[in-house]
Symmetry: C2
Subunit: 415 residues, 2 copies
């Protein structure tokens, strides 16, 4: 894409009312717009990142056999009363609204109730199990405070998968599979090394659940890491389990972190509330065992920014960058450098490489500052100097020094 056509502008100053690093950088770079605390619009560059993260997650959910659907934001009070979760005392972050006839509705903060109720139309027999369904859908949570940028939204995109299994053993097998799937996702989006599977309290069905916590300087959580096992225990669970459950290590390291995912064995709590049963091989009715598996997409995007950004701006991993290459022309007016940059832009896009082409008439310093702020993985500069040398100037966002390389070498690096 030609940068002169991109409607968003970068800005030097962070917005005054924004204290979170992720949102400061993303707003300055034109990825997002703050509508109010915890409510952000995604502008074209931000939407590209969001979609890449979604597609990685979608691929991994399809690998484990997930079927994608989309449930609704508007929620029926009657359904939530079956589990007691309609109450604002039990659930403290409901947004509620009303139909014209004064019927109360909620805005979904999660979807166990709606989905369990829906599944009664589709699961009847052991032949229908297991079922794994997921959605990438907008959640609403009425957070009292929302100061963490896109890491804690009042409105945010979430992937939530729900599993329906015939017994506790089948649930556990799938649950173990999801642990690996989640670590693969965090690795693919570029924060695998900083992310720990973390033991956390469970609910009525299971003593434990699993969180996935990413170590950052600025998270809302705190975890205790066993560096031998790459395993952690969350702050709520450390009293019950003060040593590493895998190796017995007592030297756990305390770190500030962000919860980027959590998985939870639900057992029969929801299926019993809704009478969701199946008929087994011998003709007997049996309860269905459920699990839930969440990843906040905006939170994950914000965490990537927090973990990888440097003093100059955002640093995107290749897998989620809005464009792979930032091609910068330093041509003044027309001439050879402009022709060379135009030609390279065409060659790269013809090869299927995603390129943001900065052909704007601005000073080199401004363009480089924008490029660092935007954070695309590879910067390629074309100027009179590079044209004379028959080369292009190449630099990774994570490196300080650029190098002059040939077009062929460039295609190898970014192709």
């Amino acid at each position: 894409m030609r940068q002169s056509k991109l409607f968003t502008k970068t800005r030097k100053e962070a917005p005054k009312d924004e204290v979170a690093k992720n949102a400061e950088l993303l707003i300055r770079a034109g990825y997002i717009h703050k509508e109010m605390a915890g409510v952000y619009s995604y502008l074209p560059l931000g939407l590209r990142v969001l979609n890449k993260i979604c597609n990685i997650i979608r691929e991994e959910m399809n690998v484990v056999g997930g079927q994608e659907l989309v449930l609704t934001a508007l929620q029926d009070k009657n359904i939530w009363e079956k589990t007691g979760r309609w109450s604002d005392v039990v659930v403290d972050n409901w947004f509620k609204t009303k139909l014209k006839n004064d019927t109360e509705l909620g805005l979904g903060f999660t979807h166990e109730e709606e989905l369990t109720n829906l599944m009664r139309d589709h699961i009847h027999s052991f032949r229908d199990l297991p079922v794994y369904v997921y959605q990438i859908q907008t959640k609403f949570r009425n957070e009292a405070r929302a100061k963490s940028g896109i890491m804690r939204g009042r409105e945010f995109l979430m992937k939530d998968l729900y599993s329906f299994s015939k017994d506790a053993k089948a649930l556990d097998e799938f649950y173990q599979l999801m642990k690996d799937s989640y670590m693969k996702i965090f690795s693919r989006v570029g924060i695998g090394e900083k992310t720990y599977r973390t033991l956390a309290p469970g609910g009525s069905f299971s003593k434990i659940s699993d969180e996935f916590q990413t170590v950052t300087g600025s998270g809302e959580d705190c975890i205790h890491i066993c560096e031998k096992c790459r395993f952690a225990i969350n702050d709520d669970y450390i009293k019950l389990q003060p040593t590493c459950p895998q190796c017995g290590n007592k030297e756990l390291k305390k770190e500030t972190s962000v919860e980027v995912g959590n998985i939870f064995p639900l057992g029969t709590k929801y299926s019993e509330a809704f009478g969701l049963q199946y008929v087994d091989e011998s003709g007997l009715k049996q309860p269905i065992f459920m699990g839930s598996y969440g990843i906040g997409i905006g939170r994950l995007m914000g965490t990537i920014v927090e973990v990888l950004a440097d003093a100059k701006g955002i640093v995107w991993p290749e897998s989620v960058a809005p464009f792979k290459v930032h091609l910068i022309s330093l041509a003044q007016g027309g001439g050879d450098a402009k022709n060379a940059a135009d030609a390279l832009y065409k060659k790269l896009t013809d090869k299927g490489v995603e390129v943001l082409y900065d052909e704007r008439e601005l000073r080199a310093g401004e363009k480089f500052a924008d490029s660092d702020l935007l954070g695309l993985p590879f910067r390629v500069v074309i100027s009179d100097k590079t044209v004379k040398a028959g080369k292009v100037e190449f630099k990774r966002r994570t490196e300080e020094k650029s190098e002059l390389i040939s077009e062929e070498e460039l295609f190898k690096k970014v192709g």
Copy 2:
């Protein structure tokens, strides 16, 4: 996809509380689930259709230079007060809610206000114009009645594009371009022949706006068609314009219809309310001329069902069908027919053809009834009889008679 793995089931009876043909069929076929009147979840097959429609629209919006973003559902009262549209008297279909601190919020039913306000950060100079942005995003409308299935939702996906131009002439040029773009979209999704560009009243800026109305037996609207020009006038405008504005034809035909899209020249109403101006070539501040261009995605999907369905079920055009081929095995247990069906499923999917493979152990009659209800464009049957003949049985959903053809002929038809 193997149909035995698809968790959704078809059902024979329409749900009791559903009166709209589109929702009756889509619920019976397992494409959607009704949460409450006007609020529907999209199950895997339904989501596939929705995504195909979205991608066609997205392609056409990109062709006209649209940049995709996503605005928020939660709306700031202060912004809407600038245009007077916060009032429940002015806008009668708001859903409203509250933050913990009692700050009132709305759920967006459209996005002129939020977007115009946002654009103040990005449009400053004539060099920044024109800008065309669009989103495919969930709208909330508190409809007093919602009896038209997915054709009138209280929560529904909409594509809305907004144009920002330097003057009335530039707005008009883009507006004309969008008319063609819209007709192309309706043609690509399979309802081009039934859809008419329809003259409708405008607002303060322009006397007219344009609707796109699809003739159905069951719509909420009424239009007056000039069959010579393939042009129509809506019921509100017919008093002002009782003859075809293109050819003067007085013999207009009255038809029931559904509004599948509308485009609207907004002029400077919103840009003036928000002080969205640009500096022109001579350094003077000028107002920005806007237009808005909407298509309800769910409504479009519902209209396709209404227009094309027959007594046996849904009939999808190839372009939006969840799968292209419904491959039905009539093999009993294992044997040659099962092997042949498995092999054909593999060959078709290897060729990139989207296949729903019905390998369930059910009677032929049930499978054919499900197939008609689901409405995929091509039905291919494998049985002992077809295997003996060295052929496959092929039938289009729109035809009554099947034929025995070779695999090579099949690949030509569906490849």
